[in-house]
């Protein structure tokens, strides 16, 4: 019985074989899709995950409080991370061995421990152990984000500085500028121009990572999107608030991701 099928198959050209497999995979894909649509109880899904009245209840506060706080954490973490990252990058490039080592150790240690652990350490561990609390409703979360983002950004910034032609530093030094003056006025402005696409990318990643701040205590007014959604789920015994929070994240990240893609295309063209 297999005989004629095999003969037919072997008689096909390479191109037709490829087309056959492509067609077969489309059929399987469509069957899975239809299966999901048929088998899932849509009424129940809508009722537990995007119940219209609960969706309505989220607004406007999910924007005016939660999304606003997500953006605040992102901006604070990004600025702090940029400052720490710049310092680490300059230490990494310095002539001084202790500085280079300190920077390398910081980067490895911080990146080797999950962000959530840093957030819990700074938000819960240190207050309990030492009785010290980072001040401000945003303080502990923003600090933890800065510390970790700084370690990741350090490499981006170092690569940006190293991508600036060596002749720029030589020309600046030959005019009598000190190393730091040359760095500030000549090298960094050009390095940051090169770093705009990777840094914007870092910003998008950070925006999503602020989600982890939800693990430590927050006041009602400093809840970010994930905490907002989670508390909403517990309060209403319904997944809708978290689903809406997810959609708000998407509304923030997709435009930025598109923007990065355009920047990268532009950067690639100008090379």
């Amino acid at each position: 019985m297999l005989g004629p099928v095999l003969t037919w198959w072997n008689g096909l050209s390479k191109r037709r074989k490829v087309r056959f497999w492509r067609g077969a995979s489309y059929v399987v894909f469509a069957l899975v899709l239809v299966g999901i649509v048929v088998m899932v109880d849509w009424g129940r899904v809508v009722d537990t995950m995007i119940r219209p009245d609960l969706v309505g209840e989220q607004f406007p506060k999910i924007i005016t409080i939660a999304a606003k706080n997500t953006v605040i954490f992102t901006v604070l973490g990004f600025s702090g991370g940029l400052a720490i990252g710049l310092m680490l990058a300059l230490m990494r490039l310095s002539q001084s061995k202790p500085f280079r080592w300190a920077s390398a150790i910081y980067i490895d240690v911080v990146r080797g421990i999950p962000l959530l652990v840093w957030i819990l350490l700074i938000g819960l561990g240190i207050p309990i152990a030492l009785g010290i609390r980072v001040p401000g409703a945003y303080g502990p979360g923003a600090l933890a984000l800065s510390i970790v983002v700084g370690a990741y950004m350090a490499e981006t910034i170092r690569a940006g500085i190293e991508a600036v032609d060596r002749g720029q530093m030589e020309a600046a030094r030959s005019l009598g500028m000190s190393y730091s003056r040359a760095m500030i006025w000549i090298i960094l402005p050009q390095a940051f121009r090169l770093m705009i696409p990777p840094l914007t990318n870092e910003f998008v990643l950070l925006l999503k990572d602020t989600s982890l701040v939800s693990a430590i205590g927050v006041t009602v007014t400093s809840k970010e999107l994930t905490r907002w959604g989670r508390d909403g789920v517990i309060h209403s015994a319904n997944a809708t608030p978290l689903v809406v929070a997810g959609l708000v994240y998407l509304a923030l990240t997709i435009p930025m991701t598109r923007f990065v893609a355009r920047l990268e295309k532009k950067a690639a063209r100008s090379k």
């Binding site: 002749g167 720029q168 020309a171 030959s174 005019l175 009598g176 500028m177």
Partner: protein, 246 residues
């Protein structure tokens, strides 16, 4: 009289490689000295030692009576008084032409913006690119960029100018305009140390020509002697090769 530049027994190693093997030579105030020689002869390294872009391994360099190889010497202060022009221009790409010629005046010499712009414009006029003041370097031709680089160095009022193969990266038709500016500068009495492949320029402008090979000064004298009646076989071979190219 104090010499503009005195070099004594200068040695420079890159790792195990001895690039400069005991250089001795002097430059008088207002003198134009051209350094010629095959690539790898150490002439660019010598030039870069003079403003300490390269750290000499051994030996002394004295500029107007000041030993700049002394560890206590303020290197930035030395460089401020020596202008340098590079093969690849090295204009600051993120700054306009006028900002290129004013930034060091303002950040290093502390001149006011108005004063720096006034001096910068004078120097841009001197090299013939004042009309490009508001452009970015990438919009300029190589010859124009190099002339801006000369104006940038001159705006610091240097006592001496170093030219490191200033015309080697230029398209042939643009070489003349840069050499012209250098010629004017020499006629105005600037002390100049010029590493170059332009034998014609050395012949017409230099007070002295130095031939370097293998990290040593092989020959040092007036152009008429070094270029037309050299004592050493190595110099003759080099000149024959260079002149055949033209």
């Amino acid at each position: 009289m104090t010499k503009a530049l005195e070099i004594r027994q200068l040695h420079k190693y890159f790792g195990d490689l001895e690039v400069l093997r005991g250089i001795d030579f002097e430059v008088d105030e207002g003198e134009v000295v051209c350094i010629i020689g095959p690539s790898g002869s150490g002439k660019s390294t010598l030039l870069r030692c003079v403003n300490r872009l390269e750290e000499p391994t051994r030996g002394t360099i004295v500029i107007e009576g000041q030993d700049i190889t002394d560890p206590d010497t303020d290197t930035d202060d030395v460089r401020r008084r020596i202008g340098m022009v590079f093969q690849r221009f090295n204009l600051f790409n993120h700054l306009t032409v006028i900002d290129n010629v004013t930034i060091a005046q303002r950040k290093v010499l502390g001149r006011s913006k108005d004063e720096a712009v006034k001096i910068g414009m004078e120097n841009l006029e001197r090299v013939g690119v004042a009309d490009k003041a508001d452009q970015y370097p990438r919009k300029l031709s190589g010859g124009q960029q190099q002339r801006v680089a000369i104006a940038r160095a001159l705006s610091m009022n240097p006592d001496m100018m170093l030219f490191d193969e200033a015309t080697s990266a230029l398209d042939p038709e643009l070489v003349g305009e840069v050499l012209g500016v250098m010629r004017n500068l020499a006629e105005e009495g600037m002390t100049m140390l010029v590493v170059t492949h332009e034998i014609g320029f050395a012949k017409g402008v230099a007070d002295r020509v130095v031939f370097m090979d293998g990290g040593v000064v092989v020959e040092d004298g007036p152009p008429s002697k070094v270029l037309f009646d050299p004592e050493h076989e190595r110099t003759r071979n080099f000149l024959r090769m260079v002149l055949e190219e033209d």
